[in-house]
Symmetry: C2
Subunit: 418 residues, 2 copies
Amino acid sequence: MRQSLLFSKSRHNFPRDEVANNAKMLIRAGFVNKELAGIYSYLPLGLLVLNRISDLVRREMNNLGAQEILMPTIQNPQIWKETGRWDNLDVWFKSKINAGGDIGLGWTHEENVINIMKNNISSYRDLPVAIFQIQNKFRNEERAKSGLMRGREFLMKDLYSFHLNEEDLDDYYEKVAHSYRLIFDKLGLGDITYQTVASGGLFAKWSHEFQTLCPSGEDQIYISEKRRLAINSEVYNQNTLTEFGLKAEELLSRSSCEVGNIFKLKTRFSEPLGLYYSDQGGENKVVQMGCFGIGISRLLGVIAEVFSDEKGLSWPEVVAPFLVHLLILGEDKEMTFLAEGFYQKAQKAGISVLLDDRKESAGQKLSTADLLGMPYRAIVSKNTAGRISLKSRKSDKEEIFSVDSLINYLSDIKSKLC
Amino acid sequence: MRQSLLFSKSRHNFPRDEVANNAKMLIRAGFVNKELAGIYSYLPLGLLVLNRISDLVRREMNNLGAQEILMPTIQNPQIWKETGRWDNLDVWFKSKINAGGDIGLGWTHEENVINIMKNNISSYRDLPVAIFQIQNKFRNEERAKSGLMRGREFLMKDLYSFHLNEEDLDDYYEKVAHSYRLIFDKLGLGDITYQTVASGGLFAKWSHEFQTLCPSGEDQIYISEKRRLAINSEVYNQNTLTEFGLKAEELLSRSSCEVGNIFKLKTRFSEPLGLYYSDQGGENKVVQMGCFGIGISRLLGVIAEVFSDEKGLSWPEVVAPFLVHLLILGEDKEMTFLAEGFYQKAQKAGISVLLDDRKESAGQKLSTADLLGMPYRAIVSKNTAGRISLKSRKSDKEEIFSVDSLINYLSDIKSKLC
């Protein structure tokens, strides 16, 4: 894309009430626009990252054999009353239909997905089955000061699984845990993301969260580097340590952000809503369920925050809006011709390039490139003498390429991305 | 995809309160699930169609040079008060933030997009620019009895354009009108969709709707076949006829459904919200705006309805969930081997196939295929003698192919789809 056409501008100022570092940088770089506390618009570059995160997660859900659906935001109170989650929770945004009747905005979708499955599960032959969606959630958070890391409106991937019995649920739970580790590895967060023991609620002893180390994270975890395991501070006590064979002195206390969670719901919701199947002997049994979340827009905030430096953002290749930011420094015709030639060839090779063709100073272009944070910065200037210099956002080392050798070099990088 | 794995089942019964033909069929075929009046979940097959319609529309928006963003559902009342659209409209779903403050659910996004553009337009150099999103809208409709054709929550593409002056807006308006005709042509609706003169509101004399003929449509239009033009009944009078050079006796009155609209907003919203630019002389001027909608989920309903017959749905190739529905009639091993071989080859060739590998009777499979409505039905049975018979959903004529010749035949069809 030509940067001269990109409407979203980087800014020096940002909303004064914005305290979260991730949101500050994403606003300054023109990736998002703040609308209200915890509520953001995604501008072209931000939407590209959001979509790449979604696509990566979607591929892994498909690999798990899960089928994609899309449930509505507007929720029918009736099904939430049956599970007791309509009246006693202040997480809801509620409203009314003019023609009569209350509604709520979906903050999770267990009740809704069970309502759907009651039409589609009747026999043991219909199980197991897994369903996911990538959809907005609405939560009436008391505080929303962590930018994209805690939104009142946010994008989430939620996967629901349905099983004949607890053993099958247990097996699938481990498969999803493995898939989640793969996802965070692919996002470049594997090294700083810990599978973390957390409360299982009223119906299971434990659940697991995936917590990414992040200085501004709202959670506190105790990590065992050796075991690649952590304990959420909420369940950190001697009993927990004993159960998992951990010693307090081996653990490090760290701030973190919950990017995923996996949960054995068992029959907590399927029973009150009457989701039954008939087994091989014709007997009616309650369906066992699991649920598995990943915060898509939260990951945008976490990735922005953990990979940035004082100059700005620094996107992992796999989710970057563009692989290359190509700057033309100067207004010489030969330089423009060279840059345009590279830009055309790159597009043909499927290499995404943001071409800074604006009439700005070299200093302005260089600092914008650091702020926007594409993985590679390419420069055409008088100094490059008919060739192109390339530098990774993460290093200071520049290398000089001819157009064709640079296309080959970047094609190699691109082919390694999933 | 293997139909034995598809969780969504076709049903013989459907919600008794559902009166709209499009929703009845989509529910019976397992494409959607009804949650409340005017509120549906999209199941795997329905979501595939919805995504294909979105993708087709998105490509044309990109061709118009528009940049994609995503604005939130939750709206800040402040900006809507400035245009006078917060208090005097009952279309809103409103709610409250627990920490204090009202919110509304976006039923359109002019105020929001202007709020964004105030950070990004300052000079004549920033214009013209066009922005679109594909996003859920929420409207507190008094009646929601037309299925997917009038949802309380529905998916819409909304495009907003920003211009230096009215002439540039007028030019862009014609470009969008042309793009819309292309979209409806590609969807197979071109012949029954009329650009329709409608009211321009308080700030323009006319706007245009794109109305698709549909017996259960809620609108009434007067069409001139010869001119490929229609007049909405709301503005149908002698003055209108005179202005457009039409005679009452040449026009046919028809029921229709509004699938798109294009509107010159001029300065109706940009002025109260203070969206200015400085022109070449340094003078401050108000930005001229246009807005252009297409109902994505409404199109799903319209396409379901206008192309169906008494046996069920019949999808145009360009939006069908799968191009081919392959039925194995019988449980012979050789037949299964043949069908699996075709299925594998088709996947490699990028031809999407739904393989009915269920243990059901031939009659059941044949009627399900008609209900689900893939463009082509392929059959492997004893009668096809080691080959495959192919029939279009729209005709009764069957043709027999070898596996390889069928792959070639379908590859040709696929390559012609955009």
